[in-house]
């Protein structure tokens, strides 16, 4: 795993430091302590829209759950050009900051500098351009990307701030930024089951029509076009392969539904599952595109299965006991490929769970209210899901490692979230 370019040990007690006297010589390396969230302080920005940029970056870093954002204006004193006259590393260290984020206007936009408080020096400097107009969608996404840059430099793992979530509300597809801003409808009525193309440039969904449901594909800013061959019968729950060249969905005309796949440039769809009358829906690809997890009723009631993307080697993934009436469904394969999140009925209520691919160990992630339809963020750490814990069906985001959660949407009636790729 990538490491933190910070010396969190600077905040450790002096006695401990004295007890562990480092050997003589030069040591090159980075220190990372699992479970520790290094403190980071975003210096006040003395420029137009500076307060907004600082607030967005602070919020993004906080939502990333890998850093502890230290609030307040801090001890920095503004210099004549808007830059702190001299960074007081010792005082920031005393406040618990392991890193400082400094943003100042530059001829090409903004100059972002990250400081290592323990080493009392800058560790990364880069120029960032924020597109006009300020506070527009593109501008906000650029600020989110800057937050992801900061998180990547400081923790070794890129954040997921510059991402968006699609969901269904009032039979239309909606889109919302990862921090809950800019929620807006993006499709016509009668739409369900949104799915992102890995490029982030388009999305697919199923739409109800007079002849049945069909799969539609829509470019951002364009019109939705039906996927050929999905005019009649039932066509639902589409999913793109990680390379974006194959789309898989559930299709059925008589008894049951089967997953079918259509490769780019091919005219017809080929079967992926052989359900023999059972329902097979909600496909999700493994990150390498070789396998597919899906919900199938072939064992008598819905359970999560995995199979090779060519349809072979289908096997039951979730635990199943004969006579068990509770069921498990709606899988979402984690971006690191190690686990599958799904919803499971526990005492009559759905809860979000994960199952490890390696040893099939399960982990319950939610317990408050009813929680369902999980979808992984591209950082492989956060999940968006539908929850009734606030009284209405809204989207919530959960940090799968710490269990910390936050509300993403308000207004209720939110369903079927799909977390998109990095923009």
């Amino acid at each position: 795993m990538a490491t933190v370019a910070l010396s969190a040990a600077s905040a450790a007690p002096a006695a401990s430091a004295a007890a562990q006297t480092p050997p003589a010589g030069v040591r090159i390396g980075l220190t990372y302590e699992a479970g520790v969230r290094p403190g980071v302080f975003v210096l006040p920005i003395r420029a137009a829209a500076g307060d907004s940029i600082r607030a967005i970056v602070q919020r993004d870093l906080d939502f990333g759950d890998r850093l502890t954002v230290i609030g307040g204006d801090g001890p920095a004193a503004a210099g004549p050009a808007g830059r702190p006259a001299q960074l007081n590393y010792a005082l920031h260290a005393a406040l618990g900051a392991a890193a400082l984020v400094e943003l100042v206007p530059s001829p090409r936009g903004w100059r972002l500098t990250l400081h290592d408080v323990a080493r009392k020096q800058a560790i990364d400097t880069r120029e960032v351009a924020l597109p006009a107009p300020a506070f527009g969608e593109g501008w906000r996404q650029a600020v989110h990307r800057m937050s992801d840059d900061i998180e990547e430099v400081l923790t070794g793992t890129r954040g997921a701030a510059a991402t968006r979530v699609l969901f269904v509300r009032g039979r239309r597809i909606w889109r919302v930024d990862s921090d809950g801003a800019n929620a807006q409808p993006v499709s016509e009525a009668g739409a369900l089951s949104p799915a992102w193309h890995p490029s982030g440039t388009r999305f697919a969904f199923s739409q109800f029509g007079e002849a049945g449901t069909r799969i539609m594909v829509q470019e951002w800013g364009g019109v939705a076009r039906p996927l050929p061959g999905t005019g009649r019968g039932l066509h639902i729950t589409p999913a793109f392969s990680p390379d974006g060249r194959t789309i898989v969905w559930a299709a059925g005309e008589g008894n049951g539904t089967d997953l079918v796949a259509r490769d780019e440039g091919e005219s017809g769809a080929r079967p992926v599952t052989v359900g023999r009358g059972a329902d097979n829906v909600s496909p999700t690809f493994s990150p390498d595109g070789r396998r597919v997890a899906f919900t199938s009723g072939r064992s008598g009631h819905p359970e999560v299965y995995i199979a090779d993307a060519d349809g072979t080697n289908a096997e039951l993934l979730t635990s199943f006991s004969f006579g068990d009436r509770a069921y498990r469904s709606n899988p979402s394969w984690s971006p690191d490929g190690r686990a599958v999140a799904y919803q499971s009925q526990l005492e009559g209520r759905f809860q979000v769970m994960t199952i490890a691919l390696r040893d099939r160990a399960t982990k319950q992630l939610t317990s408050d209210g009813e929680n369902e339809d999980p979808s992984w963020a591209p950082d492989g750490r956060h999940l968006v899901f539908v929850s009734t814990r606030g009284g209405r069906r809204d989207l919530w985001v959960l940090d799968a490692e710490s269990g910390r959660s936050r509300q993403l949407t308000s207004g209720g009636d939110a369903r079927m979230p799909a977390w998109g790729p990095r923009q």
Partner: protein, 283 residues
């Protein structure tokens, strides 16, 4: 008036009356005629009404037959529906049983692996391998066919048994360590060639290559699985995978032949359905 003309008129009348007797009917004649006509009409009406009754009877009979047929059709349709529903339910139960059997087999494998592991603990009595694992490979490089229920043998003390090897290697494969997993599967095939999990191990050797993106190597091992273990549970999958490799390599006629072979040799398998669809897609 003179007697001469009077006699002439009387004579003419006498001549005319007989002459017109055939043309001029009397009232009686007309009445008789009318009665005759009425009789004929009555008879005709009688015949018509009888025919109408007959037609009505026939129509009623036809309607009754239609009703009977309709009722019979409904009963047949219902019976067919019931049968279809029963068959569907039976099919679903069979699928459920298949799934449970598969699950049980996996759990059985894990159980066997646990038993073998316990047997290797110090002081534990030797546990015969239920999968018929042999200690020494047969002469000829271990190309023996699987023998389910073969003579039980004992794994040498301290050495992992076939099920244990399979579980360990599968764990490696799931973890993404394809190379380590392959070494484990190959050990199993070499050390326990007559074990009933040897075909599975051979198949997973191919899967480990596929996981590494080595399509040609994987394909050669898939073919080996079909050749060595043609009746094993993974033979259909291996043959279908071979067809997919040919198709991806642009050797479409050969791929078609392999898909047709899958349909012919393993008609009840899922791979037969998948191969059939491939045959339809690329005629």
């Amino acid at each position: 008036m003179s007697a001469g003309p009077r006699r002439g008129r009387r004579a003419a009348l006498l001549v005319l009356v007989p002459a017109c007797a055939g043309c001029l009917a009397t009232r009686d004649d007309l009445r008789v005629l009318q009665a005759d006509i009425a009789v004929v009409r009555a008879e005709q009406a009688k015949v018509d009404s009888a025919r109408a009754r007959q037609v009505g009877d026939v129509l009623a009979a036809v309607r009754a037959s239609q009703d009977s047929l309709r009722a019979l059709g409904t009963r047949v349709a219902r019976w067919q529906g019931d049968q279809k529903e029963d068959l569907y339910a039976i099919q679903q139960q069979l699928i459920t049983i298949q799934e449970l059997t598969g699950l049980s087999q996996r759990r059985l494998l894990e159980l066997r692996a646990n038993l073998e592991e316990r047997a290797q603990e110090p002081g534990a009595p030797a546990v015969p391998s239920p999968s018929g694992g042999g200690v020494a490979p047969p002469a000829g490089g271990g190309a023996a066919a699987p023998t389910v229920g073969a003579i039980p043998s004992v794994a040498p003390p301290g050495a992992p048994g076939p099920n244990q090897l399979l579980q360990l290697a599968l764990d490696q494969l799931r973890r993404g360590s394809a190379g380590s997993a392959r070494a484990g599967f190959q050990d199993l095939v070499t050390q326990y060639p007559s074990s009933d999990v040897a075909p599975l191990a051979q198949f997973y050797v191919a899967e480990s290559y596929a996981q590494e993106g080595k399509g040609a190597s994987a394909d050669s091992v898939y073919r080996l699985v079909v050749a060595r273990y043609p009746t094993s549970e993974k033979a259909a999958t291996a043959l279908y995978k071979h067809g997919l490799h040919l198709q991806a390599s642009g050797r479409k006629p050969e791929a078609r032949a392999v898909f047709a072979d899958v349909v012919k040799r393993f008609p009840r398998s899922d791979e037969a359905v998948l191969a059939g669809a491939r045959l339809k897609d690329a005629p």
